[in-house]
């Protein structure tokens, strides 16, 4: 395997409702900043890959206009996944591994405020047997949380502690959307949103974009003083049907973590992208993280969740997709 590193990263602030900009307009300054900071132009980039979802924009081929943000002229080698940007990063990493590219631009963007996100996510479910019931994303997650609580896998206090930690960490992150000092008791006094989930158990709905520059070997060293080298990147997808999965653990995260070599050394920092507090606990356990790891110093997805744009020292980064942590990607990075 070739040495490949993240050499630049930029992001928009995560905001509840971006009223003035469309998806492309959110993306333009992010990509501009990335190129400026790295000191590169379009001509230096060998491969472009993006992640987004048409259903967030409410429009077919929504990603096509992303090319306007790239300024894809002369024409570029480009691909797109209808997934979170983390999987676009994976595809770009593959292209560098095969020698097709040395420098790749990756971006993800989403503007879920255009619609009713929890209800829109119901359209991800089996269209013949489940979706006609319109189970929204929060309700599906609540089913899982209820199972975890009833079986004593987590407590409501555990979940509240995750929210308190992430929101406190997010105070240091100017891009985060939900931040501040909260107490566990104060949070537990809040009413349920969808029992047993309270508002703080759910990630916010965020508009936003992020972009990453990925480079091979010496190219990475030229562009960046301290590249974040990818030592392992793996992703696994479970079946979607909730009845055939063990919802009390994240099996796919466990497998991906094992293959990516998460436990091969001490993990200093972990950035987890679980959209609900109980799911963050499951991911944390699946990764085998202990007290030596700082979890979500940025605040994580619970502080800002521009879905499709959650991409990223020995550190581990996590991304997820589908109901109840169906699909998970793990990336191990070293300075």
């Amino acid at each position: 395997m070739r040495d490949v590193a993240v050499v630049a990263f930029s992001q928009s602030p995560s905001v509840r409702r971006e009223t003035d900009c469309n998806e492309v307009e959110i993306l333009i300054p992010v990509i501009h900043e990335l190129r400026t900071n790295a000191g590169i132009t379009n001509e230096d980039v060998d491969f472009v890959c993006s992640g987004s979802s048409d259903y967030l924009a409410g429009q077919s081929f929504a990603f096509v206009s992303g090319l306007d943000a790239v300024g894809a002229w002369p024409p570029v080698c480009e691909s797109h996944v209808e997934m979170d940007g983390a999987w676009a990063l994976y595809e770009a990493w593959v292209k560098i591994q095969m020698g097709y590219a040395e420098l790749a631009l990756v971006y993800g963007f989403g503007k879920p405020s255009m619609g009713d996100l929890p209800l829109t996510m119901a359209l991800q479910l089996d269209p013949y047997s489940v979706m006609p019931l319109w189970p929204d994303a929060v309700s599906i997650a609540a089913l899982q949380a209820r199972l975890l609580l009833d079986d004593g896998v987590v407590s409501e206090r555990d979940m509240a502690e995750v929210a308190v930690r992430d929101r406190a960490n997010a105070k240091q992150n100017p891009y985060a959307q939900v931040k501040g000092d909260f107490s566990v008791d104060q949070i537990l006094a809040d009413p349920y949103l969808v029992s047993p989930l309270r508002k703080h158990d759910c990630s916010p709905i965020s508009d936003g974009a992020s972009a990453i520059l990925l480079a091979a070997g010496d190219r990475a060293k030229d562009l960046c003083k301290r590249p974040a080298w990818i030592r392992g990147i793996e992703h696994i997808c479970e079946p979607q049907d909730l009845g055939v999965r063990d919802l009390k653990r994240s099996r796919s995260t466990e497998i991906a973590a094992e293959k990516a070599g998460v436990r091969a050394g001490k993990i200093d920092v972990a950035e987890l992208s679980a959209p609900f507090t109980h799911q963050e606990i499951l991911v944390e356990r699946a990764l085998g993280l202990g007290s030596e790891t700082s979890i979500n110093p940025s605040g994580g997805a619970l502080a800002g969740n521009p879905i499709m744009a959650v991409s990223a020292d020995r550190a581990v980064a996590h991304a997820t997709s589908g109901p109840c942590l169906q699909q998970n990607l793990i990336c191990v990075l070293e300075g």
């Binding site: 472009v48 979802s53 002369p74 024409p75 570029v76 591994q97 020698g99 589908g322």
Partner: protein
């Protein structure tokens, strides 16, 4: 240096307006099982799954790969979902090949599909967005002006498109999987069909189809053990450009020309018309055959129509195009590009049945999409590069 990758299994569904006896998972599984049978392997042999389809709104399922993955053996495996507009079937095959060529996986299953009977593609393409003009045109309305532009520039005879439509439907009669089986297809029948988007007549357009196409690709050490012929991938290439900007040539986009030049360079091809034995080109409206003959550098600019007119692209011509009947005969949109790639592979494997070109050794698979702005292509051969 990239690993060598070979196509060792191909599976296609029967294409039809409505495959109502199958769900979406059933449709994908029909193609995937056939590809596995052809490759002589089982679900357990597959390391990763790559799924492709056109916009999610075509079936009304958001990121449908999440619920489909299980039906094609993807449980607890890596799964990717590709979407690059109409070129997606080709791009999906290219991503699957990359997973092998990078050395990341040994054997990969890729499936592309569309189930148009569960949707209304023209509706999905004409949603009105804030602050933008809804064209309410569908694909035909979008592409007709580009065809007009081509006719004006090239001076091509107005019946060129009719000839393509007749040829591709005749070819489809040799392909039992093809959707349109028009036994009595003729020049007059096409010429007298209603004008939908001038100059595109009803019988010069693609149908709406249900269908899926699947391939199993493997690294050299596995593929060489195959008991059946293998299609070796010599080169893949992709190019994209923005939809609209001042000065953009939408009739003959630079992305197409750049893509073709880069593809041939990688494949070591000096003279594509001489060196390539046959091609499956994405032709959703008849006129795009002559246009892409130029766009793929088989003919000089403004002379692609001569290839059609002189019969060069017929089954007995010097560069047969769309032996399977092409997109004009079967169009499960998200799969239409992969079918081009798979049919090119079938030709060099000598397994194309009644539409086989004798002695096909090197073939081109081609797909395009968006507003003539996404291009994906590959060159396959019976010989290793």
């Amino acid at each position: 240096m990239a690993e060598l990758c070979g196509v060792m299994g191909i599976g296609q569904t029967r294409y039809a307006a409505k495959r109502q006896e199958l769900s979406m998972p059933g449709l994908l599984r029909e193609a995937a099982e056939r590809a596995l049978d052809d490759a002589g392997c089982t679900w357990a042999d597959i390391d990763a799954v790559v799924i492709g389809k056109a916009p999610d709104m075509f079936e009304g399922v958001m990121m449908p790969e999440l619920f489909l993955n299980d039906a094609i053996g993807g449980a607890y495996k890596p799964m990717l979902r590709v979407h690059t507009a109409g070129s997606v079937g080709g791009s999906t095959a290219i991503v699957a090949a990359s997973l092998v060529q990078s050395g990341v996986h040994d054997r990969v299953l890729t499936v592309a599909y569309e189930k148009q009977s569960e949707s209304n593609a023209t509706w999905a393409l004409t949603i009105s967005m804030p602050f933008s003009v809804a064209t309410v045109a569908g694909a035909g309305g979008y592409f007709a002006p580009l065809v007009r532009g081509y006719i004006r520039r090239s001076g091509a005879p107005e019946d060129t498109g009719i000839r393509v439509a007749v040829k591709d439907r005749q070819n489809a009669l040799k392909n039992p999987l093809a959707h349109l089986q028009l036994e009595d297809i003729s020049f007059d029948m096409v010429a007298n069909s209603p004008m939908l988007w001038d100059p595109i007549r009803y019988l010069e357009t693609c149908p709406s189809s249900d269908g899926a196409c699947a391939m199993v690709m493997a690294k050299e050490s596995i593929a060489t053990q195959s008991t059946k012929p293998v299609a070796w991938i010599h080169a893949t290439e992709m190019r994209s450009e923005p939809t609209m900007f001042s000065g953009r040539d939408q009739v003959m986009p630079r992305a197409s020309l750049d893509n073709a030049a880069a593809l041939y360079k990688k494949a070591g091809i000096q003279n594509p018309r001489d060196e390539i034995d046959c091609a499956e080109i994405y032709v959703p409206f008849s006129w795009f055959e002559p246009m892409w003959m130029e766009g793929m550098l088989f003919a000089p600019i403004n002379e692609g129509w001569k290839m059609t007119y002189e019969g060069a692209t017929a089954l007995d011509g010097d560069l047969p195009v769309n032996m399977s009947g092409g997109v004009l005969s079967s169009n499960p949109i998200g799969a239409s590009g992969m079918i081009r790639f798979a049919e090119a592979a079938l030709q060099v494997r000598g397994m194309a049945g009644d539409h086989q070109i004798d002695g096909a050794r090197k073939a081109l698979g081609h797909a395009y999409g968006g507003g003539s702005q996404y291009f994906s292509t590959w060159i396959v051969s019976d010989q290793k590069p």
